[in-house]
């Protein structure tokens, strides 16, 4: 399967995608054409997967009104960003592990954030009997 196949998969999400798709195809054949050990899977593939994941996470954060659902969207966005770091670390000229370590820290901080955010959500539910972010308007419960 070629890069164009991935572009067609991304296509429904794009408003005016013809120029973007051709640019992706050109960039793929140009910059990543020499790729051999990757077996046709280049940096671009990972970047597009993480971009789609980030967009999905943003849509979930905005459209969902349940606080826990919003947190799930945030986790998707964090994962998209982490995939970027690991992909850059893999495809960088110096075989460094910096990107993987940044993703490791991101996972740890995401765990701390999830624990604290869920504690706050539980507290909001105790005080207001709801976890809908629109209903929790008063700062002092």
């Amino acid at each position: 399967m070629s890069v164009l196949g991935l572009c067609e998969g991304v296509m429904p999400f794009l408003a005016s995608s013809a120029d973007a798709a051709s640019a992706i195809a050109a960039s793929a054949t140009g910059a990543l054409g020499a790729e051999s050990a990757g077996g046709g899977i280049g940096l671009l593939h990972y970047l597009l997967v993480s971009a789609v994941s980030f967009g999905l996470g943003l849509m979930i954060v905005i459209t969902r009104r349940n606080a826990i659902a919003v947190l799930m969207g945030i986790e998707l966005m964090i994962n998209g960003a982490g995939l970027n770091f690991v992909a850059f670390a893999r495809f960088s000229a110096t075989s460094s592990l910096d990107g993987q370590i940044v993703t490791l820290f991101a996972i740890v901080i995401a765990a701390a954030e999830a624990a604290l955010a869920l504690a706050i959500v539980l507290n909001v539910f105790n005080n207001l009997d709801t976890v809908q972010v629109d209903d929790a308007r008063r700062l002092y419960g």
Binding site: M59, E75, L104, L122
Partner: protein, 182 residues
């Protein structure tokens, strides 16, 4: 198609399809389980990139920890007499779609327009010894800072999540009285 490519496409499909189902499914419990699929897809992508330590950390921390935390949160914040309202709010559908599509389009344009300087790949080496060495040498300060952060977050989470009855010894409130106001 080689097995290498097939593994990538399956992982990417699981990651993105799981994320799309998180967006589309109305039930919040189903959202949590589709998120499990999506996170597993990301773990597959990490493994595919040769980052096995990150991949298994992803499975342990995200799927084994954070997702279970989410499910506990769903269980603890839903009363049986109120129907679960996890569905998409129509009022925010248009702004959300605009923001999501715009950010996706911007990122795809950025990815396509940037001349990425990549090189021929060498086979990945096992990253775990290098990660351990780096964490104990170059990244020792962030490592200690993040461990303190975890401790603070854990203590803070247990403090914040206490039930109302347990906080009657609250040292401050707005009327100067003890307890009851929180």
């Amino acid at each position: 198609m080689t097995f290498f490519e097939l593994a990538f496409w399956v992982s990417a499909l699981v990651a993105i399809g799981g994320g799309a189902m998180v967006l589309l499914t109305p039930s919040i419990v189903h959202m949590a389980f589709w998120l499990l699929g999506s996170l597993a897809g990301f773990a597959g992508l990490y493994l595919h990139l040769g980052a096995d330590f990150i991949g298994f950390t992803q499975i342990l921390v995200y799927i084994g920890g954070i997702l279970i935390l989410f499910l506990f949160g769903v269980m603890l914040t839903n009363r049986s007499d109120v129907p679960v309202r996890g569905a998409v709010s129509w009022r925010f559908l248009v702004p959300g779609s605009i923001a999501g599509v715009a950010s996706l389009g911007f990122l795809v344009w950025l990815v396509a327009a940037t001349p990425w300087a990549t090189h021929a790949l060498s086979p990945p080496e096992p990253p775990t010894p290098g990660i351990g060495f780096d964490l104990m040498s170059r990244y020792i300060l962030p490592f200690e800072a993040v461990s303190v952060l975890l401790l603070v977050a854990m203590i803070g989470a247990t403090y914040v999540a206490r039930s109302r009855e347990e906080r009657s010894d609250e040292p401050f409130d707005d009327k100067g009285e003890k307890g009851e106001s929180l």
